[in-house]
Subunit: 304 residues, 4 copies
């Protein structure tokens, strides 16, 4: 049916498993849980997130440095300075990192710095960007457009695969609808369908879908129960102070609790949340305290 032969199940009887690092994969038995703030705001912020979540454990860290914002006057991200923060945290905590790429000229710097390049919903059909990402040797996290059909979503992935890069992870993040109660409507029927018609890993972003933090944990459970290969969840050391999307970010404590609560659901559907991260928790806390001792804590929000 779909004009997307490389992405279709018929192209590969095997479920595609994508490696972010030697130990962290997505698409197999292990779930990929990605956590972190909407935007990278400061090194302190990212250290706090990484040190507390590495032992949750989450398997990867998110944080935007180029931010697509509705208004040109809203915070647009720290840019290259933010990328340096991501690199520092990635090195120190051994956590793979994902960040959004908004244009072709950002690809090279981002591909050198992170483990997973995110294409945001607004760019799902930015075809020149997709073609360029088809020539990159790094996994791509492709978010569904906010009113994209399943067919359009699969065809967008096909743009990347047909240009040479088969490491694509699909991400359902809610579609636009009429009810103002939730920000978007999480479409888990699409997740089930995508698992049936493609061989690619499919993860879910319940944070953007719900838009309200109190809805996130139960939607995360639903996503795992219906077969999603992972989650990407917004969390922040001080959610109410987040520069963007404050209403939907979990606190770090809530994030830890959420990951724990997913274990029995995962087990019920034959999946697994990794038991512990490779990085030792007490080592992490020491390194964080050492870091705090060295430098005065200051907010860099929007100033770099």
């Amino acid at each position: 049916m779909l004009d997307a032969k490389l992405t279709s199940k018929s192209h590969s009887h095997h479920q595609t498993i994508i490696k972010l690092t030697a130990d962290i994969t997505v698409g197999g038995e292990d779930l990929l849980i990605i956590g972190g703030p909407c935007a990278v705001e400061s090194l302190e912020q990212m250290e706090a997130v990484a040190s507390q979540l590495a032992t949750a454990p989450i398997q990867a860290l998110r944080g935007g440095v180029y931010k697509p914002r509705t208004s040109p006057y809203a915070f647009q991200g720290l840019g290259l300075a933010g990328l340096e923060i991501l690199k520092a945290v990635r090195r120190r905590y051994g956590l793979p990192v994902v960040t959004e790429v908004m244009s072709i000229d950002q690809i090279e710097a981002i591909a050198e710095s992170v483990d997973l390049l995110q294409v945001g919903s607004r760019n799902m059909q930015n075809f020149d960007l997709l073609k360029a990402l088809g020539e990159v040797n790094k996994p791509v996290l492709l978010k569904r457009g906010l009113a994209a059909t399943i067919e359009e979503f699969v065809c967008a992935a096909e743009y990347i695969l047909s240009h040479g890069n088969s490491q694509v992870i699909l991400c359902e993040r809610g579609i636009r609808s009429f009810d103002p109660y939730t920000r978007n409507v999480l479409d888990l029927g699409a997740v089930v369908a995508l698992k049936q018609i493609t061989h690619l890993p499919v993860i879910v972003d319940p944070s953007h879908a719900a838009g309200k933090r109190e809805l996130v944990p139960d939607l995360a459970k639903a996503a795992i129960a219906c077969g999603a290969d992972g989650l990407i969840i917004e969390c922040h050391p001080e959610p109410e102070k987040s520069v963007s999307d404050a209403r939907q970010a979990l606190s770090l404590e809530e994030m830890v609790e959420l990951v724990q609560s997913l274990r029995p659901i995962a087990a019920a559907v034959g999946r697994r949340v990794l038991n512990k991260s490779k990085v030792n928790a007490s080592t992490l806390r020491q390194s964080f305290r050492a870091l705090q001792a060295q430098r005065p804590v200051k907010s860099q929000k929007g100033k770099t």
Copy 2:
């Protein structure tokens, strides 16, 4: 916020538990799983469903006798003859029965015959029907309108409660959206929200949401994982011969398998699928064979 004081959480700190029979409840630890065909077609059909599913087990049987159909020329249901079939099966198998009521003048006959009166999506804001159901002493299953906001849905329930009947079960069944791949979009964010803002039981209809049987089981799991109190699922002895919605009905074997697969998910979120129905399985099979021996099997589809 909501102009729905009786339905709101603030009105009752206790979760409402509704009894369908002495043993079958919804809203507590036990999940309510309702199965059966879209439309009652014949006694044989309903006997086949009840005898095979009573031990799945399901906790209640569905089957429409008054069918809201887009076209006036489509099968409109068996009417009172269908109601007699439901009564016979209910008596024989000890299973509570749910059927749809489309107008005020049907209420009396239906309320005398079944355990749970369903208001369909198209009638969610048929306010005179809601008011009349507020004066009935039977539980009501209120399905969300296909483009109803959460607020409108809660206010529709309030019409029933404010007229005296507090036994209302809410049912999310998918909302209308732009993607033709699925019939509707199952909105589990609404389920999580309804559990948070009301004290009423909330169940999920994954069959109408998905519109394709292969999507139903995984969506059913997701619904239970996010906190739904039950499910209503279409199944049919011969799905491809169903007079309506054939594409979304599970076979009875698939239905049994689905119920079994829900057990570990239910356990993971502190819920339970009843271990066995009160009716003994071998007794059921005997009574079904006896019944088949007595009467020639014939289709009554659309002929009564």
Copy 3:
């Protein structure tokens, strides 16, 4: 294509013209412009509307006496007392009157009192109501459901026609969508399509579509330009004091101005706004003043 043979163009090569009175028709060259408040609030209110608009001229008067409201605690309409007001105004001003019927048991009283029975959006698929209206010998104004497809809308009309009443006027009133700026999205593509695939008159309600009075006049012009047979527009002597939908009602002066502005558009597409009503304007003003002199002006809002 459609399972709606009586409603389809193929059933009748002639455009159906429906008579509201001996002089007022819809579906032919003359446009049908219906004006009036969302709800009938008092005799004074309706007298003010009728006396000022009869010479606009509008061709019919609207005013709800049974109001479908999201909340059970909102004003539900004056009921039979409201119907008496409509009858009085209709007699005095010789204007045909339209009001909404919400349930079967209201049909008889309403059909005796008014010229056109409205089925509201929430009841477009209240099939038992449609069937009952199929047996009435009065024209029916069928509003499109807020998320009804064109096919479902046409099939809803077919329910009425197939039960014997072929006097059905279709009304596009906006469909539900994602943008909070407008209340609904006016779907003029549906109007053009309905004129092509059915032989029924099609009118447009820009008030409910827009939800903001400043958008109404330009949308009214668009509706006439694309071929609509008429308009139904909310207006009120004191819009800001309207008991419901205050934000979308025009003042009576704005309504008069709107009707005048439609004349050149109507002419441009070969249609006509009647030049003057049958009732003499100065007579109307006299009768209104006489009425005011007789009785003290008092608000009956919600008190009858």
Copy 4:
């Protein structure tokens, strides 16, 4: 309200008028009617369109050379070869030309060749592209995203204005909805709103909105009646042979007829369709015949 100070009405009390050429403007009394095929397929095709429509008259010619297509295997446009065709036709017929720019690296070549750079719906929130177009000294035609709110649309324009280019034309082209009968839903309420809250010209694309050619003329009339400053309409010498969107293209004869039918509507709302193009019709036909004599007519569809 909007975080879009430069685009807001409050920034400029004057309606912005944008010049495409010395004689062709948009935003003032004269309507801008743009016609042409979805994709540039060959010089012959574009010559046929320009020669027949210059005297319709249309005021500008459209034709895509970089085509955003759902599937990577669909025709992606003639690229630079197509741009040469546009330049040749523009020179010969004196008609301003509009074509879509999909990525930053295409801007320079396109800006040198055409009069108006189109940003397609899928790129409405490709913010890096918008910023780059803010630095170009050519008018930009910004199409509304298929599920963009009015606020998001206005803010997308603000990206261009705030980066230095105030020559932005907004284009409503239908939003995605649930009804398969039309491809999209033309949202004229948005057109009325945009005219009220911004000072920019607003045009309408009824072709993509309707998706069916028989709906286009009446929607075009509606657009002009509600205050749109112009139209962009797909037409093709042989619609059924169009490489893309064949179902929605008018024939050239239908396009000529449509432009004529708009005159009385335009007059009714105080607007004007230019009486004749600057290019003399008989000259045009001669030059076209000369061109046909020189070169064999051949299809270059998808082969360049």
